[in-house]
Amino acid sequence: MMLLQLFGVLFMVNLFTIGGGYVMLPLLHDYFVTQFHWLTNQEFLDAVAMGQVTPGPLTIMNAFIGYKVLGFPGAVVATIGSYLPSIFVVTYVTKYYLKFKGSRVVDSVFKGIKPAVVGMLAAVAINLGGTSMVNPATVSIAVGSFALMTFTKIDPTLVILGSGVAGAVLL
């Protein structure tokens, strides 16, 4: 039953989020942490980190969530649920590309969604910050990685690995 629920949520979330990666985080957080209580805030952050240090899109973090909740079958179901919507929609759109190209309806809808997602992501970041920024050391790690990511072109993988080392030394 939970496998079906996992599949359904990931299929829906991936169907509704254009741009992938960070855009899906507000939805995933709402389902897995707030509604189902399958993950704590800390575990959700761990999942994001796993998705970030492995090659490929952040979406693979869903395999981690699946494994965490339901073991190997969970990981497989989560992965299929995450990429299946893409396969359906991309093959369909490729077939009818010219019809969609520059469609005013599609463009205008996304002109509304995109900035709303920015605001939603900010809300999730603050929520997660409340869990993880608990003392001067963790606050400095958060501020430091923010500065590195905003002002330099450093690879996020390095920031995450470095902050793991910093955590072991400082905490």
Binding site: Y22, K68, T94, Y97, G119, G164
Partner: protein, 177 residues
């Protein structure tokens, strides 16, 4: 015309080295698929990038699906996706196993707390970058502020928020001209 096996193998290779975000990946795709193997023309590739960005899911996976579909229909799309996803999937599986086994070791816990804090910094940086790019008008600021307030203070359902902001976009930009 490449075989399914060839499609799978090329995407497996690209999936294993897919570090550094969408843009560095796109140049990798360009080199492997257009320049080296000539599976696609430049124009077809550009179309694939555009489609990848306007369809749901990760753009780079979607561009891969487009390429696979273009070369060998639905089976090609599956081969491209499987190849691209497999390396990350196996690595995440390994990490998840280690995570479950060692979660309660104190040192590992400290590493995870450090990483958790960094992820928050990363997210904040993404918010700033996306905001600079997308929130450029008063209307866009209203959508962003609305999304924030409704989710943060009122704990509204995110899918409902996405539907609502899409409808708002349509009424604001899509109807008249």
């Amino acid at each position: 015309m490449p075989s399914l096996r060839q499609i799978f193998m090329v995407f497996l290779k690209m999936g294993a080295f897919a570090f550094g975000g969408v843009y560095s990946m796109l140049s990798f795709f360009q080199r492997e698929l257009v320049d080296k193997r000539k599976w696609l023309s430049q124009e077809e590739f550009t179309e694939g990038v555009a489609i990848g960005q306007m369809t749901p899911g990760p753009p780079i996976i979607n561009t891969g699906i487009y390429v696979g579909y273009h070369l060998k229909g639905p089976k090609g799309a599956l081969a491209a996706t499987a190849g691209q996803v497999l390396p990350g999937f196996l690595l995440v599986l390994g990490l998840a196993y280690v995570y479950k086994e060692f979660k309660d070791v104190p040192l590992f816990g400290m590493v995870l707390k450090g990483i958790g804090a960094a992820v928050v910094g990363l997210l904040a940086s993404v918010v700033i970058k996306m905001g600079k790019q997308l929130v450029r008008s008063r209307a866009a600021a209203l959508f962003a502020g609305g999304g924030f307030v409704l989710l943060y203070l009122l704990k509204a359902n995110p899918i409902a928020l996405i539907a609502l902001s899409g409808a708002g976009g349509y009424f604001l930009y899509g109807r008249s001209k």
